[in-house]
Amino acid sequence: MDEIVRVENVVKTFLNKRVLNSISFSIQKGEAVCILGKSGAGKTVLLKIIVGLLRPDKGNVFLFGRNIFKIKREELFRLRENIGFVFQNSALFDSLTVFENVAYPFLKREISDEEVKEKVLEMLRLVEMQGTENLMPAELSGGMKKRVAIARALIMEPKLVIYDEPTAGLDPATGRSLVEIIKRLNEEKKTTSIIVTHDLEVASTLADRVLFLREGKIVKEVKPEDLKEGLDVEIIKFFNLREV
């Protein structure tokens, strides 16, 4: 299998606090890997390092075989065109409509308006947000924003999709429907994905492999079946996790 992401001995410290402590793992093409950990465990920092938004104090990250900290800025931007990122707070452009948000990744591309329109409407349909094209982000609920963010992340058919706490801040029903959408899209598009969450249910539904992050280290790696069979009581207690 092709390696999509390789994280090598990544260390990151903020104000004398070591957030990530020699993290290493790799993700193969087509895999859905979930990183599970408590709030403040450094999950978002890890994601930002993986896409080059933050620089680690030590270590390397390889995306599609390229060391992202040893390539030119322009090259990194080109590499990122293969990534879709769903931010925890959706990060929709608040001065643009839903349509413009989803179409935004086409900014750099030479593509006709008709084609953009077709792709955006199709993507909105896939995330069950048809008819909202002209709404502004401020007019959307949290769950709707997440769906638009997913549409925006997937519209370029990226090779790697990263979800940062996809269900955070949503009520259980909305969270579940969002997980179903992500699962369906992952199966349809066959993308590689990284899902960061603190929710066992999300992890067991979406992941092929679950990594537990604790005190800046990967302390355990399990299969989703193991989660369904029941997790060590110690781990559940430690992470304050909700059981499946």
């Binding site: 990534i83 707070n89 750099k108």
Partner: protein, 249 residues
């Protein structure tokens, strides 16, 4: 105390120049639609306030200049004095300070909000460089519009000065404009335009920089906006001295 301050200042200076370099490196791929949108924003949002400030400045300059020269020089020379003051100094500096407060604050708060809500990160992850697609159009438009607003401010200030000189001080329009033209040097006018260009660049780049370096939360947005206005104004006044010394010194 001094060393950490200097280190921090140098770090900001380095980061500022890096931002300017990365932004300007995208000049060949400048998005025309975004530049037009920014031109419209700069021009329209500031036109009225520039006109108002320039008019009152022109009027008060007439009155105060007359007070200073009365008994020493004929009031017919008011046109020359006001013209020089406005084209060399008041027009560019006044316009720049207004733009720092109006457009600079708007740019900083917009970009800072985008920063603290991950919108800038979202652009980067999509492979879209915020320096080229967000900052460069603003810098380009601001640098282009400021000299035009300076010319407009010059015009409004001189016109209002002529009107007040005529109504309040009994200076004929013909005498006012004759003395203005007799002492008008192209160098004065072009110096003002040059100041406008440089001030426009300073205001937009400084405002974009404070926006992109804002910290988390609403307080961070407020601080970034305040810093944009203060730093832009201070740098405008500093470079006003430098340019003034080089051209007219």
């Amino acid at each position: 105390m001094v060393v950490p301050f200097l280190r921090e200042a140098l770090r900001h200076l380095g980061a500022y120049f890096l931002m300017v370099y990365y932004s300007l490196s995208g000049i060949t791929n400048l998005k025309k639609e975004e530049v037009l949108r920014q031109l419209e924003f700069f021009a329209i949002s500031s036109l009225f306030i520039v006109a108002l400030a320039a008019s009152f400045t022109g009027m008060v300059t007439s009155i105060q200049s007359a007070y200073q020269i009365r008994g020493l020089l004929p009031l017919d020379l008011l046109g020359a004095g006001v013209g020089k003051m406005v084209t060399i100094e008041l027009g560019p500096v006044l316009t720049a300070l207004i733009l720092a407060g109006r457009a600079g604050a708007a740019i900083a708060s917009e970009i800072a909000t985008m920063n603290v809500t991950d919108q800038l990160d979202a652009m980067e992850v999509m492979g879209i460089d915020p320096y080229k697609y967000l900052i460069l159009p603003r810098v380009f438009a601001g640098t282009l519009v400021t000299p035009l607003l300076v010319v407009f401010a010059d015009f409004m200030a001189i016109l209002s000065s002529a009107v007040v000189s005529n109504i309040v001080l009994d200076v004929e329009f013909s005498a006012f404009f004759r003395s203005f033209l007799d002492f008008f040097y192209v160098k004065d006018f072009l110096g003002g335009i040059l100041k406008g260009l440089i001030f426009g660049f300073i205001i937009t780049t400084v405002s974009c920089y404070t926006g992109t370096t804002s910290r988390e939360g609403a307080k961070g947005v407020g601080l970034a906006t305040m810093r944009a206005v203060i730093y832009s104004s201070v740098f405008v006044l500093f470079f006003d001295y430098i340019i003034g010394s080089l051209i007219y010194g």
